[in-house]
């Protein structure tokens, strides 16, 4: 078994179909709504974290077995330690301000939220700005050596180093976290209802 070998127009149509499914689920799960992200960061609504953790719980074992039997191939980007740290800090600040990641901003625009166009415009402005500031970024972020060889660990992944215990441990932890987040959401919800009465 191996991934489908499609190309050209068939691949473009397949990508369109998968995109439609993604867009549909993003709206139906309310991830396209900026309030879902905003409420996640104050733990008022843990939907985003639950979706993420459940996808890890289900996806990690599936991904492992499909990779093992050659049905899918993983193609990780070239992530490095300091760029990841700097990028996460900037993304975290931006996420609190606008409540969107790129894909949810597109989905939000599709539901008629025209203000998402401003968010998308800000996102597109990032490309020329990072291109212009690349020499500075290269000196202070990209050029810095990694303190630990996380890159090799990431490229090889825990799967392929024989640590298959992680295959069950991480999904289990994610499931427990999702259940915990659901519990605290329900208790805070009932508390606020009691206060209203």
């Amino acid at each position: 078994m191996h991934p489908l070998q499609i190309s050209g127009n068939v691949k473009i149509l397949a990508a369109l179909f998968i995109g439609i499914l993604f867009g549909f689920i993003l709206v139906k799960s309310a991830l396209s709504n900026r309030k879902t992200f905003m409420d996640q960061f104050t733990f008022k609504d843990n939907s985003f974290a639950i979706i993420f953790f459940i996808s890890i719980t289900v996806g990690v074992p599936l991904c492992y077995f499909f990779t093992k039997y050659g049905i899918i191939n993983l193609h990780p980007s070239n992530y490095r330690f300091w760029p990841i740290v700097a990028g996460a800090i900037l993304t975290g600040i931006g996420l609190v301000l606008c409540g969107h990641i790129p894909i949810t901003a597109i989905a939000s625009f599709g539901t008629g939220k025209l203000y998402s166009l401003i968010v998308l415009l800000g996102m597109l402005l990032a490309f020329p700005v990072t291109k212009v500031t690349y020499p500075i970024l290269n000196d202070y972020v990209f050029g810095k050596p990694d303190p630990v060889n996380l890159n090799a660990l990431a490229q090889n992944s825990l799967f392929f180093q024989g640590k298959t215990a992680m295959l069950y441990f991480i999904p289990a932890i994610c499931l427990v976290l999702a259940l915990f987040l659901r519990l605290i959401q329900r208790s805070s919800g009932s508390k606020s209802k009691k206060e209203e009465h």
Partner: protein
Amino acid sequence: MLKILCSAKISPWISGILMAFLFILSLYVLDSSVGSVNAYSNLADKAIAIYNGNIPSVTWDEMFLIGVLIGAFIAALAGKQFKLQLFPEDHLSKGPSYYLTFGIILNLLGGFLVMTGMIIAGDTFTKMWGDALGLFTIVGLFLIIMFIEAVLIGTMLSLRIEEK
């Protein structure tokens, strides 16, 4: 099935399972993770080309983003959620002096910071989400830092609003 199509919202538990299957489906069908940062960059370039009267060819990863837009539109119509909205509701409640000036700047700056962070980090959140299914350790580092920071800032801001 029809019930799910027309419902306003599906449970986060089902959404999580569906997202996992979609990421794996994209790896099987397209043999690549979806939502890469290059797709956004190329789409912006092509939008400018269309504005200038040229008709550029579209690649599969750009078509994926167009699909997301179409899928969201279909979902909003099916769930009767489609509503043209110029400003976010939380901005509207603060009055026109906020949503016409500061609100727009916050959205623009937020979007700029999110994408700048992702360009520096190496790829978009969607791509990292897909990579997280392969247990790539470094993606976990990104998610932990981003989440803790966003929770801290978000909590501080909400406390400030409550004090006011």
